[in-house]
């Protein structure tokens, strides 16, 4: 067991956790943040994408102990006072959400992209979400949603 202290969605968190716990399990089972999904458990599908210190990671293969001292943002941390974040709104308005299982991870990957690059090209958007598999949409409306946020 190890003690970790980190910031999750702006709030300080301190927990004793098993050494081999993944960040995904930590978020879902220790903190009850079930918006982050497990699609494969091997870092291949991106459904578990969260932001750690500004970078997107696959939380299913990211050891929770490495989160010690870091700042973590999950899908639950995007909305402010019940108001959807602009990426979430764009996804709703462009029909970029179907079953919704890939959506949280997809939105977090888009968030990471737009932090670094507020005006991405279509190719940059496709590259940025290429670690996130979506089986429902064929990606077109997701790409449209992200591109609609260009300044």
């Amino acid at each position: 067991m190890k003690n970790i202290n980190c910031i999750v969605n702006g709030e300080k968190v301190s927990r004793n956790i098993p050494d081999d716990m993944s960040l995904l399990t930590f978020l879902r089972e220790e903190l009850g943040l079930t918006g982050t999904k497990q699609g494969c458990g091997s870092g291949d599908c991106g459904a578990c994408t969260v932001i750690v210190d500004g970078k997107s990671v696959d939380s299913c293969i990211y050891p929770a102990v490495l989160a010690d001292g870091r700042d973590i943002l999950t899908i639950e941390g995007l909305e402010k006072n019940g108001e959807l974040d602009r990426i979430q709104k764009a996804f709703v308005e462009h029909a970029a959400v179907q079953c919704g299982f890939c959506t949280p991870g997809m939105i977090m990957s888009a968030y990471a992209l737009l932090q670094d690059n507020p005006n991405p090209t279509e190719d940059e958007v496709r590259r940025a979400i290429s670690g996130n598999i979506c089986r429902c949409t064929g990606y077109q409306q997701i790409v449209d949603a992200v591109l609609s946020l260009n300044m």
Binding site: C99, P104, V125
Partner: protein, 691 residues
């Protein structure tokens, strides 16, 4: 009131999904839950003589077939056990259910349970299934079902043909690839009933299966769909909720079972691998005079919905065209593979791969434009289908072809093709409804409340958007704003049975049931039940009606690796009146993406019955870099019997992708014919490129 039919209303479930607030089965965490694991066979074919269960820790449970009230999954063929007890028929077949306080412990106990086996030879391919020297999975042999139909005089049709084309084709075993693996949570609720919360297409199916297997009366079970993370046919007909249900029934404790991705890929249901043969005869001016089409489908160890898949594959094989002489022959075959069942397209992509490729080759040989040859032969309402029955419902194929011919895609393909790019087109058709002899009715209720209406249906929003489109239909019919409709979906308790969310049926059959109930409300009732029975075809046919589409693919191939890149896919869709254009586009684009996978990268390969693919690292689903620009337009030829003129279309967009892409690739080469997918890069590399 403003008309909201035909408008792209935002999905009502999208905000919560975008916030991560929607509750999927795995998001339910109940204290004291037992986690379920299955002891699975490590061989593909064996006689099971017994199961050795080692001592297990307190608080853990192991159940085998003898603990079940009935060891049979209710299905069309009624041949699949819940737990293997005498015979192992596929790698990964479960023979014991384990429940433990943690998933890790459940998995390790499951690993320690040893079956006593007498290993048998493996039926590892369609060829093996036809080989009488191979073992039989069942007493009756390895042929599960057959299909035969003959119309006109096929041999004469060929004798009169100016050109005959022929070929053997192959399509791979494919997985549904929904992002949320199969799973369910079960518990005893405050009324003492067993509650099943499942990732399912049909909660009544979960309820009936659990009741049959546990012996618990149906009245003592409730089932509901959680938020479902995609289904595509893979969460219907065989409900994995039965495993936690057995645990909860026998222990009284909450239970959770979520497939791992490896279980999903190796042991979940599949799109049938196919081998087909077709021969098509043409007049000089491009009329199809005769077609002889046969298909063999690998249904794996059990049929599940396979017998219906075979019928549909045959019905649509050359069904988009008015052909006087047609012979259809099909076999559904048992092998020691994971069961094949329903998957978006339901047999139609397999047969389109053969017929549409041959049609393109014939067009090329005859010097006829590929759209024109389809216009010449397109099927119309009132004409006979390939089995001899009459099409009584609306068909917009010719309109779709004419509109496709006006598209930017067609203009680029024919007038100014981009250098080094290949182009190809294909047509697809897909039925809606469960088909002849399968009861297909839908009931809904509508109740007036203070501010609006509650609509109850057991239809599930699987991601396709039926919560939104059905709300649009209800709002329009009741003359109230979209927001005044409260859709209560996917639950057995208090909800009427609307049938399964499958077979591209929901918009039509549930939409019509809503219209029926809404009419009674408008006539003064505060609460009403509405019903719709899906029309059955009267004579020789499997399904009463169909949606159609034309698709074009633009591709490039890499001269060094032979890899195909799809650059653009354009569709023109005939689905009657469109309820919500943005959601229709989403269905089209998603289906295309799925079939780009089948055409370029996805396949399950078996070695001695064991799937080589076991994760998303080696089973390659297309990413945003593999799926190109997608565009869609539609023709709106209203179906008179449909709600506001709508037809079902969810599965349709998977059908024509493969032949459009293979034709586009072949157009770049002098001597290349692609008859098998996923496309073999080395075959492309070896071919002579056109200059």
């Amino acid at each position: 009131m403003k008309n909201i039919i035909g408008t792209s209303v935002f999905r009502s479930d999208a905000p919560d999904k975008a916030r991560g607030r929607s509750v999927f089965a795995d998001d339910l965490m109940i204290p004291g839950t037992l986690h379920v694991s299955l002891a699975r066979a490590r061989v593909a074919h064996a006689i099971l003589k017994g199961v050795k269960v080692p001592p297990i820790p307190d608080g853990c449970f192991v159940f085998t077939a003898k603990d079940l009230h009935s060891n049979l999954i209710p299905s069309i063929m009624n041949e699949q056990p819940v737990l293997a007890s005498e015979r192992i028929r596929c790698h990964g077949e479960p023979f014991a259910i384990v429940a433990a306080p943690t998933k890790e412990l459940a998995d390790s106990i499951a690993d320690s349970i040893e079956p006593e086996l007498e290993v048998l030879g493996t039926v590892d391919s369609i060829a093996d299934a036809l080989d009488p020297s191979k073992p039989a999975l069942f007493e009756k042999g390895n042929v599960c079902s057959t299909f035969h139909s003959e119309k006109g005089d096929v041999d004469r049709g060929f004798r009169e043909s100016f050109l005959t084309v022929e070929g053997d084709f192959e399509t791979p075993t494919q997985i549904h690839g929904f992002l949320e693996p199969e799973g369910a949570v079960t518990f005893i609720d405050e009324d003492g009933k067993m509650m099943i919360v499942a990732s399912t297409q049909y909660a009544f199916g979960d309820l009936r299966e659990a009741s049959a297997v546990t012996g618990r009366p149906q009245s003592e079970i409730r089932a509901m769909a959680a938020t479902v993370g995609g289904a595509f046919g893979g969460k219907d007909g065989y409900y994995v909720s039965v495993f936690p249900a057995v645990v909860t029934h026998l222990t009284g404790k909450p239970a959770k079972y979520i497939y791992s991705r490896e279980e999903n890929i190796r042991y979940g249901m599949k799109r049938h691998k196919s081998i087909s043969h077709a021969k098509v005869g043409f007049s000089k001016d491009g009329r199809i005079l005769a077609a002889d089409c046969s298909i063999l489908l690998d249904t794996g160890a059990y049929a599940v919905l396979g017998t219906s898949v075979l019928k549909l594959a045959m019905e649509v094989f050359c069904g988009a065209y008015d052909i006087p002489n047609v012979r259809l022959d099909g076999k559904l075959l048992y092998t020691n593979h994971a069961p094949g069942s329903a998957m978006k397209g339901f047999g139609a992509p397999q047969s389109a791969m053969a017929f549409e490729n041959l049609l393109n080759r014939a067009a090329s040989k005859l010097g006829i434009d590929p759209v024109q040859i389809r216009i010449i032969n397109a099927i119309h309402k009132g004409q006979k289908n390939s089995m001899g029955g009459v099409h009584e419902h609306e068909i917009g194929l010719e309109e779709a072809l004419l509109k496709f011919r006006e598209s930017d895609f067609y203009r680029e393909m024919t007038q100014h093709p981009e250098k080094d790019c290949g182009y190809g087109i294909a047509v697809g058709m897909k039925s809606s409804g469960l088909g002849k002899f399968v009861p297909d009715t839908c009931h809904v209720t509508i109740r007036k409340t203070g501010g609006g209406y509650i609509v109850r249906t057991s239809i599930v929003d699987l991601g396709q958007g039926s919560r939104t489109t059905l709300s649009q239909i209800a709002a329009q019919a009741l003359g109230v704003p979209f927001e005044a409709i409260d859709m209560q979906m996917g639950c057995t308790d208090g909800n009427p049975d609307s049938g399964s969310t499958a077979a591209s049926r929901s918009t039509y059959v549930c939409g019509n049931a809503i219209l029926d109930a809404a009419r009674k409300i408008r006539e003064g009732a505060d609460e009403a039940t509405g019903s719709c029975a899906f029309p059955e075809p009267k004579d020789e046919a499997v399904h009463a009606f169909f949606a159609f589409l034309v698709q074009g693919a633009k591709v490039k191939t890499d001269p060094v690796t032979g890899k195909t890149d799809v650059l653009w896919m354009h569709s023109t869709t005939d689905a009657g009146r469109i309820i919500n254009p943005a959601l229709l586009d989403g269905q089209v684009f998603g289906g295309i993406s799925m079939s780009i996978g089948m055409t370029l990268s996805e396949q399950i390969r078996y070695r001695d019955g064991k799937a080589l693919e076991n994760g998303m690292g080696n089973y390659i689903i297309p990413t945003a870099l593999d799926v190109p620009k997608l565009t869609n337009e539609f023709v709106e030829k209203p179906e008179e019997s449909g709600p506001f003129g709508a037809k079902g279309m969810a599965e349709l967009p998977t059908v024509a992708v493969a032949p459009a892409i293979t034709t586009a690739v072949c157009s770049l080469y002098e001597d290349l014919e692609i008859n098998s997918i996923p496309i073999d890069r080395t075959a492309v590399l070896k071919s002579r490129r056109k200059r």
